[in-house]
Symmetry: C2
Subunit: 221 residues, 2 copies
Amino acid sequence: MPKVDSTKNKILDAAEELFAERGFAETSLRVITARAEVNLASVNYHFGSKKSLIQAVFERFMDSFTNHLMRQMTELEQSHQRFSVEQVLETLIKPLIEVDELRPDGSSVFMKLLGRAYSETQGHIRRFAMQKYSHVLARFTRMLHKAAPEVAPSEMFWRLHFMLGTFIFTLAGHEALQEISMSDFNEEVNVEQIIGRLVPFLAAGFSNQSIPIAAQSVGEV
Amino acid sequence: MPKVDSTKNKILDAAEELFAERGFAETSLRVITARAEVNLASVNYHFGSKKSLIQAVFERFMDSFTNHLMRQMTELEQSHQRFSVEQVLETLIKPLIEVDELRPDGSSVFMKLLGRAYSETQGHIRRFAMQKYSHVLARFTRMLHKAAPEVAPSEMFWRLHFMLGTFIFTLAGHEALQEISMSDFNEEVNVEQIIGRLVPFLAAGFSNQSIPIAAQSVGEV
DNA sequence: GTATGTTTCAAACAAGCGTTTAGATTTAGG
DNA sequence: CCTAAATCTAAACGCTTGTTTGAAACATAC
């Protein structure tokens, strides 16, 4: 797919930025088409409705991200017979960063958008994502299980979602945190450094042996 | 403050539920006043604007929560000379649960509302909260530092926000997760059990000794 | 009981929304 | 070059939004 400046793409680009900045409901089609420099009616012509546009925006960057991620997971599996939880988590880093570096301004639109999609609109996007990208999540889960077979499946489920939550939540709001960090500690940190702190934090939580409730059978892969 | 069924309170109660269910932007004053069984104009009469109403809703439950939390922290400080990270995190549990149990239907409105407030509206509520409740956060930070003095201040900052993120994110979306857990593992879990899994997970991450970048001085607990 | 201040109410307001329409313009194929 | 399909455009549609209005209802005090 060549990167053409078609009306459709101009709308997607503008919508992506604006949705990330202001949220879905708070962004009108008029400001989107104004920034994209296209006619108002073209949104409905090309996408049918605003709801479909939101989904199209979400799908475009999510496809890109999951493709990167799948490649990273394959790479890890092929290069290492055994791998750690930390290594599995690290497969997220490159895709997470590269998806944003493609953008012209380079401001991390992806993370903010993901945060919006997760919380907004009664979780309707979330359900869609769980369906369309379930195979990616399943593969990621399988790799985590291989890295830490001592964690029981149901416990694994919860810890995985704890990790996803932290990732999305932290990175979606990272700009505010970066500001505070700068003013409180005179410490300039970029997104990669935040992830660098985040991964060990999560890996430690994930691999934690103290199981709160009933311990299940400890199997093997 | 006696629990009066004043128009003002009826509006706050209805708005709280609806904001949690559907978000701020997606909830109109008309549905709020309809559920509250009051006149549409009374919102502007009592609160001035919708924006002020949102802030009033947020403030009411946040005040209640932070009061509980402050009491819990005092209790822990008075009963133990030394305490663990896990114990500090556990001070969150009761306030988190009790704030919701006050509600008539008992459905965890608080967590959902907090999630909304965190992500929505350009972080405008978040900034307001950081300002008004900064002393609570400061005290919580101080207690964490006392529990784990080996964690450097800047590292502490990040880990604290990782934890906050996970807490809010997980609990805001806990209903979806509970559903999945039910269908995938036939495991019925309540909010307390989720928190029961969450606390050790976070404590392990927080106390993690493997520091990613420059290793600081390693003290003692 | 009348006067004063507060609260409620139905109705209307202007503004913004997503969407539709119908005609102009551009594009592509024979 | 002509035709037919695809795309773009300005204008309007119907609807919902937050807010305002001015009178009615209520409460309180003298």
